[in-house]
Symmetry: C2
Subunit: 404 residues, 2 copies
């Protein structure tokens, strides 16, 4: 059996820690590594760097940059992109955190804001540079808010002379009535309290109505800011739209209980691109990393059995085993929900650290991440405070426009 | 006394290890760190991110992006850029290795070449992607050549299925008659032998006459290659040309024995932008990092004495203390010249490792670099094999043009 792994990046990415690249704690290589390294000892696996541009499900063909190939089985796991809910024009001013490039871009923009604030003479403009607005109160929004607030106040404030980084405002805006809507309301309340203790301003039930380069409108209120980050939602990768099949909400592919695409039993959709209900409870499987991993295992088992002439395992439908859900708030707190138990605080945070180390791939990533965390959390130093590359193009002494 | 440190980057950079970022061994944060972190405990030091656009030596003024400020003393230490010797058009096809951005760009280009070779169907085109030409046989060229050859052959060849990375050619071209012209000819010969043992093809006495995106001309010979790197020389940062003073070769500033600019005793030029002779021997001080550091200390002493009303120390001219010069060849060898002693091989390489760790700034950089080296040199894994950002724009399945 020959396996071809096609990816537009040469690396896998452990997305749950992407916000730590954005907040200057970790290096890209701590949460990413070359895909082909993983398959070094599997001679039947070919890794191809490229972007799939179209898929012909009926004729079992896919095209990578003009090069069309046949397949016997297809596993589509291209993941998600930021969902701006028909406001794509917000993308440039409020980038999301879905790719390594965007994480490095956000890191550069955050650090550059502090640098610019140091040299800014106008108090209003300085305040705008020291105001961070995060849109979306899910795990990513909460984790970013806590990390940025701590970076400014605890880590680098002492390095500045003219700007008072202690005054950095971090504002977390959530359209819904509570944070962490995918968790129990006890966790939402605990996260709210923890964030407020850190000094993050949380606005609930307030949908954003407009974003431009000078700030954010929430109804009639305007918050002037130079730093907006989008964490309000994701949708399936646009490649799903090229399949010519009917899609569910967010461009997701409704799949059969065996995760295959309706009418194409040899084509599977897993992870953030698929929409599947638990066969017993009827609840949708959440779009989280553990679910995607479990789907991958399930589909691999099905295909392997069929390819080896054994009875197919796909008669037993996919079931998601929820091992728990967590979110971290700054350097000392987290909330967790595991099999009906809900807890928070320092113990939850330690558990969070342990689990995330466990799921990193490779010895190097683990040891380097542990060392970076020791440096950050015990010695209050963030190690990757570098502004590299085109992020510097954000002009430094640029006058901030006064109009909204 | 108020000190303002102006830099166009927010980080210092330990340039001697930049080639290890380019060859995927080290992360940027291993050899760079925030400038303002260094001065955290010195309240009279202000760090300003910005690019100096002009300097008025006579009126003691300098301009940073339209903002003009006065100074009492000036220390100009803006360093060097690649010298293409009136062939600036070669810059795009044969980038140099002077900045963090260029190191990351070269890393991306090298890794992308291997990826493209894996998918390339045409044998000639594949060969061009697996041919690396390094122009310049100084320390940077030698270190890059050894590192790229080892990366291809020892580290990642096993991860590829279709392309034979063992066949990767690394060609080092030097216009002069020997490698390492700044060292004794014994070292040159040893470096040549070591490189040839590694499988690097060395061409001596062969000036490059033309470079385009398809390869390099050396007289009538043409070497087809997709990967050219420029390491053939440096010149002073172009800011020196804005000073309105007479410059020496390479745009360097000829300075007085006290390192001040002739006619402007309050303005000093140090490091790669200055040209100074040793007062006793009459030989020029080499443009190497240890000389720049010594110049910095000398000038700081002068200014501090004068500012505090003590007798100036500048009556005693600057003297360079040469503590030795080294270059490393791959993972086991180096050549060194210390106080007339010349040696090479494994012992020199261990000394090289030790000294470079010693000169890294900060505990984090040291520990992370040591761990990366252990991983690379003992376990044969390079840790930062990531293609991130715009380097991906080098189209992947692009047909290589046949004409030269």
């Amino acid at each position: 059996m020959d396996v071809v792994v096609i990816d537009q990046n040469n690396f896998y990415l452990f997305q749950p820690l992407l916000y730590q690249v954005a907040s200057a704690v970790l290096n890209p290589s701590d949460i990413a590594g070359p895909i082909r390294r993983i398959f070094r000892d599997q001679p039947n696996v070919l890794v191809a760097l490229g972007e799939v541009t179209s898929i012909d499900l009926a004729n079992k063909k896919l095209t990578v940059k003009g090069d069309t190939r046949d397949f016997d089985y297809l596993i589509l796991s291209v993941g998600a992109v930021d969902n701006y809910f028909y406001h794509e024009e917000w993308k440039d001013v409020a980038p999301g955190l879905k790719t390594m490039e965007s994480a490095l871009g956000i890191r550069g923009k955050i650090l550059l804001s502090f640098e610019a604030a140091e040299l800014e003479g106008d108090p209003d403009a300085r305040r705008a540079r020291l105001t961070f607005v995060i849109i979306g109160g899910g795990p990513t929004g909460i984790e970013l808010a806590g990390a940025i607030k701590e970076l400014a106040v605890d880590i680098i404030a002492k390095d500045f002379r003219l700007a008072n980084l202690q005054s950095t405002r971090v504002i977390l805006i959530e359209a819904g009535e509570r944070l962490l809507p995918s968790m129990h309301s006890d966790c939402s309340q605990r996260a709210l309290r923890d964030l407020q203790e850190l000094g993050v301003e949380v606005m609930l039930g307030r949908p954003v109505t407009k974003i431009n380069k000078n700030g954010v409108c929430i109804g009639d209120d305007f918050i002037r800011s130079e730093n907006m980050i989008w964490a309000a939602g994701i949708r399936a990768h646009p490649l799903t739209q090229a399949l010519g099949i009917e899609l569910g909400p967010g461009g997701r592919i409704p799949v059969e209980p065996d995760l295959s695409i309706k009418g194409y039993p040899y084509a599977f959709a897993i992870g953030d691109v698929s929409s599947v209900q638990d066969p017993k409870t009827g609840t949708p499987v959440p779009w989280v990393a553990p679910a995607a991993v479990q789907m991958g295992r399930y589909v691999a088992d099905c295909i392997r059995a069929e390819a080896m002439g054994r009875p197919s395992t796909r008669t037993r439908p996919f079931r998601y085993r929820n091992r728990g859900i967590m979110a971290t708030i700054g350097r000392r707190r987290a909330v967790a929900e595991v099999k009906g138990f809900r807890f928070g605080g320092f113990f939850a945070w330690c558990l969070w650290l342990f689990i995330h180390i466990l799921f990193l791939i490779g010895f190097r990533s683990r040891i380097f991440t542990v060392l970076s965390w020791i440096q950050s959390y015990l010695f209050f130093q963030y190690g990757v405070r570098l502004i590299i590359g085109k992020e510097k193009d954000f002009a430094l002494v640029k006058p901030v426009q006064k109009e909204t």
